[in-house]
Symmetry: C2
């Protein structure tokens, strides 16, 4: 979606190492924003983005208009079923359907051998992997680890929305997830206890509202009750009017 930051640059570096030809798509997809979401104000610094692409030796930038992507009303879409119903999907109905649909379109237009997605948007990555498997798409999906600020805040184009005070408290999400992960690593199997520890870190922090914090299975990201293997811990919080997400492995 553009507004490229060091997390996107990590995608480019990783892809560059693997590939002869490196393409980047920049498209703020109107269909994946809800009516009360930030489509209009989402940052679109195109010339800055093109410089970032050039600096990273990108061969091709695909930056279509909405009219180019949706010349007629989109009647056919990719239904992601229950994978889009929990975590971020709970508060963003239709979001992952629109993400899967636009990614399918972009993959069919650009036709990469491999496509690189950041692990910050873990549910997106999970759904895209499953879409590729279930619909037999001819592409390999590569997940790229989250890039963080020195204080732990996961890089996101939406971090730009934070004022100084909000920016200062924002890393608490990562600290809460780390707290949960260390509980899991020390052997806690009961996810309600793990959540309690993480939620305690977030409690009473000014400007913060928790949307969700869940311990999920790593394949489908379904919230689980008892830990019996590797898990992901994923959270979404509001810092003032800005929604941030993050996740860690444990």
């Amino acid at each position: 979606m553009g507004a490229l930051h060091a997390g996107h640059e990590r995608l480019m570096e990783t892809a560059r190492r693997d590939s002869d030809v490196l393409a980047v798509s920049i498209f703020v997809n109107p269909l994946q924003f809800g009516p009360n979401e930030d489509y209009a104000r989402y940052p679109r610094p195109l010339s800055h983005d093109l410089e970032t692409c050039e600096r990273n030796t990108v061969d091709l930038v695909f930056a279509p208009s909405a009219e180019e992507m949706y010349p007629v009303p989109q009647l056919i879409s990719v239904d992601v079923g229950r994978l889009g119903e929990y975590l971020c999907g709970k508060s963003r109905p239709g979001h992952f359907r629109a993400v899967a649909t636009v990614v399918m379109k972009l993959l069919n237009i650009v036709r990469p051998k491999r496509a690189y997605f950041g692990e910050k948007d873990l549910q997106q990555l999970t759904i895209i992997r499953r879409m590729v498997a279930d619909l037999n798409l001819n592409v390999t999906i590569v997940g790229v680890p989250i890039v963080r600020e020195t204080d732990g805040l996961a890089l996101s184009s939406r971090n730009k929305y934070l004022n100084a005070e909000e920016r200062k408290v924002a890393p608490v999400l990562y600290r809460a997830l780390q707290g949960a992960a260390s509980q899991v690593r020390s052997g806690e199997k009961d996810t309600s206890k793990v959540r309690e520890v993480a939620l305690a870190v977030l409690a009473n922090v000014p400007l913060i509202r928790v949307e969700y914090l869940e311990i999920v299975d790593p394949d489908e990201l379904q919230p689980i009750a008892t830990i019996g293997g590797p898990v992901r811990i994923a959270g979404a919080i509001w810092v003032g009017a800005t929604r941030l997400i993050d996740n860690v492995s444990a």
Copy 2:
């Protein structure tokens, strides 16, 4: 879906003329049959089908098992929206979602330059064309005209289900559609009057029950009230326990 007849052979001949390499898929897709439909009894004469393919100089037959096509539960599917809600979709909920999904899978596995579909399954063809456009699939869809018996009955693998008596009355669907088309050609604009003429042809014919008979726009197959350009006239009838469909242009 195999049970290949002269309609399928017409697809092969048309594709053969255009192409260096000709592939045929044979797969009776369990997901596109409703719980009370004919999945179990649908004919599967594989060795006869392979002979038909050989006679038509087919280079490659892809005849996977259901386990090969659906190794894990299919969570992601192609949602066809309102295009799957009328005509055949009305009595077959989920049918066109399953058709679009399996066609997407087959196209991604076989990766043809062009794919050929019969016009008898007009709603299927319409939905596949729109799927290709909306999701930017890299394939050209070619529609191939209906092949008929000398008495007008459209070829279908399901004609095998008809006993002698049923087979005798089955062509009445085509005659009804022709009656409607000739009304349209002589200038009738009111589709309710056109339908009346067609339904009169079907009324009181033994063994016949009409499921639908509609005058529709040729792009999305939506039933229309007033004719202002080219139309399709599509019908579905039951002959005893067998469901038959057909359509004509006007």
